[in-house]
């Protein structure tokens, strides 16, 4: 069953991609297609025009630049795992996305722009204080990851813009990634966590699947840096997150597990 798509655009360069985006703001953007194809198959998305970024080489690169590491939107999870140049938190997240066949197509930009609250890379960007670069023919913008997801599946991306990539600044401290799902592979997170803790300096405790957007536990972070007891940090985490009951888990389970993850990590340091 294929959708009646009447227009297909396959830019090779970033400039062409931005031009096509400006001319076709209604076209569905597709990268690896691992979310888009599922939406089309289930009938929740019925695109008439497609802007296919899979072959756009200008989005698939990674480099150290002034101010940190740049990851292009078109890098797949497999690219991240093979490069050996990515932050361990990002590698850990990429390794848990689906299974090998999914990782071979799933792009970072797709994970970020799909904006599922359970997207496994999303808390990583928060923990690493990443900045997102988006662009249109009008110019480029940088957006802190913390303000990109504005609500359930709502992102700060205008109709003529494309997501270009991610800038990770140099940061220090302990880091930890943990995903809890029904099994190791091919499961959507019930709770996903990315943390960074630089004692006496700063901390970031970021979760996915415990609210409409990925989120940080700001009060718990402040307490942690101020030297609060682990029990108190865990308590604040459980108060700050906003989980719901859904097909994958319950709010009670998610609160319990979120606290456990933080407790286990902090007591292991």
């Amino acid at each position: 069953m294929s959708a009646p798509v009447t227009a297909l655009f396959r830019p090779r360069t970033l400039n062409d991609a931005l031009k096509m985006r400006a001319e076709q703001p209604g076209a569905t953007v597709m990268a690896g297609g691992t979310d888009v194809m599922v939406y089309i198959e289930s009938g929740t998305l019925k695109p008439t025009a497609i802007l296919d970024l899979w072959g756009c080489s200008g989005l698939r690169w990674q480099q150290s630049i002034t101010g940190g590491q740049f990851h292009g939107a078109g890098l797949t999870c497999t690219d991240v795992l093979r490069s050996g140049q990515s932050h361990p938190l990002l590698e850990a997240a990429a390794a848990t996305v689906g299974a090998v066949q999914i990782q071979n197509r799933a792009t970072l930009g797709g994970n970020i722009c799909n904006a599922s609250p359970a997207g496994d890379t999303l808390p990583v960007w928060l923990a690493l204080k990443a900045e997102f670069e988006v662009a249109s023919v009008r110019g480029r913008r940088r957006i802190p990851a913390a303000s990109f997801w504005q609500g359930y599946k709502k992102i700060d991306l205008r109709p003529d813009e494309l997501f270009l990539g991610i800038l990770i600044p140099p940061l220090f401290g302990h880091t930890h990634f943990r995903k809890v799902g029904t099994r190791l592979a091919q499961s959507i997170s019930k709770v996903v966590f990315a943390g960074r803790y630089n004692p006496g300096v700063d901390a970031c405790l970021a979760f996915g699947a415990v609210g409409p957007t990925p989120m940080r536990c700001l009060k718990a972070e402040t307490a942690l840096v101020a030297g609060a007891a682990v029990d108190d940090v865990v308590q604040l985490v459980r108060e700050e997150i906003a989980p719901i009951d859904d097909i994958r888990s319950t709010a009670v389970y998610r609160r319990q597990v979120a606290g456990n993850i933080v407790r286990r990590w902090l007591t292991s340091l």
């Binding site: 798509v5 689906g98 066949q101």
Partner: protein
């Protein structure tokens, strides 16, 4: 849309809607029915094929994205010489009802090419996207770990 690609070493050209699933094009247009449809949503791996060497779910790949690519399906895996993983699957009883077997072989072949001597754990990770409801996986892992990748496969 006219899409040209290589399939099992042969140049092919199909005229299909651009968002057709690669799986459907392989099965319906090219009559290569070895790749199976299990779930149709990327979960089960029965439709696994290799695109430019990488194992992918062909139910999630729109055909427009394979224009110019090189595809190998289960029909191409053992075309000239039976692939060692196929031999090992036979020897170790790694196949029962057979629906998942083509996909398992494709994932295993992709693994063996990068890592000719995988540990059991590495084999399990590489095959985690291929569901099998018969074997309990033990014999499949036995088979994959016992196969030696052919040179230049």
């Amino acid at each position: 849309m006219n899409v040209r690609f290589r399939c099992n070493g042969r140049a092919v050209e199909v005229d299909v809607p651009p968002m057709s699933r690669l799986l459907d094009v392989l099965r319906e247009e090219l009559r290569l029915t070895g790749s199976k449809e299990g779930c149709g949503e990327g979960e089960c791996g029965a439709c696994t094929v290799r695109i430019d060497g990488e194992a992918v779910m062909s139910c999630l790949v729109p055909v427009c994205q394979v224009d110019g690519a090189s595809i190998v399906t289960i029909e191409g895996l053992g075309a000239s010489v039976v692939h060692p993983v196929q031999t090992a699957m036979l020897q170790h009883g790694g196949a029962q009802c057979g629906i998942c077997t083509p996909g398992l072989c494709m994932s295993a072949a992709a693994l063996l090419e990068r890592n000719p001597h995988p540990s059991r754990e590495e084999a399990r990770v590489a095959l985690a996207g291929n569901l099998c409801r018969c074997t309990g996986y033990q014999k499949v892992v036995d088979a994959v770990c016992a196969s030696l990748a052919p040179e230049g496969s």
